[in-house]
């Protein structure tokens, strides 16, 4: 979302806020921190001095003692000397510098594929990449709706013993393909049958189509990419659908949006992602590390939720 759109939507957004935030936004009540809930179940609001995650990141040391799992990354082999390197070695270097222990990638080449051979080759590149980094890298299979048969033929790779693949990535926005389109249905049925996770960058601006899919396929877990791109009513959908999640990655984030979402739906519904090697890693780490949420909530977002969703498909701790 660009700054202009954000500002022009701000009045409507404010109306969609819960009463405590609306009062704050309008200046009509004293400022309260989004996580400063009242009552016995209120998480303790910790200052930065008490937060080891905050301290380790703010000092530039990297995440320490955190099982950080990047659930949304990419790579592609590129020639040397390019201004925008996308190769897996650079990705892993930056991820390790930030203290990320495990990264799940999907291949850019999978989105760019225009025939089945290219799609298969993109997935083969994932196998090679994971073989290089067996303890810190896993991959998604890309399901390309315009290559339906080829994509379906690739699906069983996720079930093979010792598979490097942990789930599927759909990019409806690139493919200009609706979430409810018929070509996605075989994938959703397969993922539902096997209880797999699907990461979706959807083509729609609203969430109704996603809700219809996940309600039809309750055994699959669906992660919506990019909370900053998702509509303001994301929280109500996350709350209503136990198999729906959202990830944190994005080039921008509205001020206090992460705190507001964690307050509204719980940290259990949010997963950490970087979108590297599209985006830089450090900014994505900082948005969670510096959020005004509890240490326990940060650990869930950084990796606890990914462990729960992907289980033994990830490399062990």
């Amino acid at each position: 979302m660009n700054r202009r759109d954000f500002l022009s939507q701000s009045a409507l957004s404010a109306l969609a806020l819960p009463p405590w935030a609306r009062a704050q936004a309008s200046g009509g009540a004293p400022r309260r921190d989004p996580v400063a809930r009242q009552g016995p179940d209120a998480p303790k609001l910790q200052g930065p001095r008490e937060q080891s995650i905050f301290d380790s990141v703010r000092s530039g040391r990297g995440l320490e003692g955190v099982d950080a799992i990047d659930t949304h990354a990419h790579f592609q082999e590129m020639p040397k000397g390019v201004i925008w390197p996308l190769n897996v070695e650079t990705l892993m270097a930056d991820s390790h510098r930030c203290g990320i222990r495990q990264t799940i990638v999907s291949p850019f080449a999978g989105y760019n594929a225009t025939n089945g051979e290219q799609l298969r080759a993109a997935h083969d590149a994932c196998v090679e990449a994971v073989a290089k980094y067996p303890t810190s890298l896993r991959a998604y299979l890309v399901f390309q709706p315009h290559l339906r048969k080829a994509s379906e033929a690739e699906m069983p790779r996720v079930l093979q013993a010792e598979s490097p693949f942990v789930g599927f990535k759909l990019h409806g926005a690139i493919d200009h393909y609706p979430t409810t389109g018929p070509n996605y249905q075989p994938l959703f049925e397969f993922a539902n049958e096997h209880g797999l996770t699907v990461l979706l960058h959807q083509s729609e601006e609203e969430l109704k189509p996603v809700a219809s899919v996940i309600q039809k396929y309750p055994r699959l877990n669906l992660i919506l990419a990019h909370i900053a791109l998702l509509p303001d009513n994301l929280g109500s959908y996350l709350k209503a659908n136990p198999n729906l999640f959202a990830d944190t990655c994005g080039s921008t984030l509205p001020y206090r949006r992460l705190e507001q979402l964690v307050h509204e739906v719980g940290a259990e519904k949010i997963l950490f992602g970087t979108d590297a090697t599209y985006l830089a890693v450090g900014s994505q780490v900082a948005k969670v590390a510096f959020a005004n949420i509890s240490e326990e909530e940060k650990r869930l977002v950084f990796g606890g939720n990914a462990r729960r969703l992907f289980g033994s498909r990830l490399a062990p701790l």
Binding site: N2, R3, R4, F6, L7, S8, S10, A11, S13, A14, L17, A21, Q24, A25, S26, G27, R31, P34, G47, P48, V57, R58, G60, G62, I83, W84, P85, L86, T90, L91, A93, D94, R97, C98, D232, S251, T252, L253, P254, Y255, R256, R257, L258, Q260, A276, T277, Y278, L279, A280, V281, G282, S283, Q284, V285, A286, K287, A289, F290, A291, N292
Partner: protein
């Protein structure tokens, strides 16, 4: 590492921002929390004499803490019968303010922004004379209005013209997005007085490679609070694959140097 934020707004907007406005106290609290040492800021105001109100409120807030460094919101259309546009630069300097910023005129009577030299030559010349950094939001170059302004008529061509004609005037482009790298790099390579803030300039290794091409001394840290989350640009600098010296330049020293060069 010390951080000096070049782009912060305080004050209530008419249509509220979703997660609230910042006032002087809450900004300082947020700076404490994130360990941001200083912030170059302005106070928003809306009304018939908005720019005057903005600067009055900015100066009042700045008096409360030396960590809050005021920036002057420029009148870009004549608003006083007995004053030339460039006279405000003298008033600004007399008030101890060492940075100026463009903000769209708002309200039904406001015209669209133009940065053309024939419109603002005397103002640019006076800023150039004193080497006052001029902050220009990138969104104005893409026709993005505020909810109460006309669509701005400005472009990267205007930035190029200003930089070329006023070589002692530091022009700071605020928050160019990550896909503006060709404009940013080209302008910086052509003009030694071009700078930009980096909060959403966050493609993978983009900051590092741009710094290698144009020099880290041309990049400034800025957050755009309270519109965007300030954590991202801090993390971008802390974890960039560049040496500590370049990180320090971006985090605070470049802005400090620009302000100290004002004469």
């Amino acid at each position: 590492m010390r951080f000096f934020d070049c782009n912060v707004m305080i004050g209530q907007t008419v249509a509220p921002l979703p997660h609230g406005a910042l006032d002087m106290r809450s900004l300082l609290a947020e700076m404490d929390r994130l360990r941001i040492e200083k912030a170059l800021f302005f106070h928003y105001a809306f009304g018939m004499d908005a720019k005057n109100d903005m600067n009055r409120l900015t100066l009042a807030a700045a008096r409360q803490s030396d960590r809050l460094v005021p920036s002057w919101v420029l009148d870009i259309a004549l608003s006083r019968m007995d004053e030339k546009l460039e006279d405000q630069v003298d008033r600004m300097l007399d008030a101890g303010v060492k940075a100026a910023r463009i903000f769209l005129d708002e309200g039904p009577s406001a015209g669209p922004l133009s940065l053309k030299i024939y419109m603002l030559e005397s103002l640019y010349a006076r800023l150039n004379l004193h080497r006052v950094p001029l902050l220009i939001p990138d969104e104005y170059l893409h026709g993005q209005p505020t909810p109460y302004s006309q669509v701005p008529r400005a472009s990267y061509d205007d930035i190029e013209e200003i930089c070329r004609n006023f070589p002692d005037l530091p022009v700071v482009l605020l928050q160019p997005p990550y896909n503006s790298q060709q404009d940013v790099i080209t302008l910086a390579q052509r003009h030694k007085n071009f700078y930009f803030s980096m909060s959403i300039y966050g493609l993978f290794r983009e900051l590092e490679n741009t710094g290698a091409l144009i020099g880290a001394d041309r990049i400034l840290f800025g957050t755009d609070m309270p519109v965007f989350d300030p954590s991202l640009p801090i993390g971008l600098i802390l974890y960039s694959a560049m040496n500590d010296r370049n990180k320090e330049l971006i985090a605070s020293e470049n802005l400090t140097r620009l302000l100290e060069a004002v004469r």
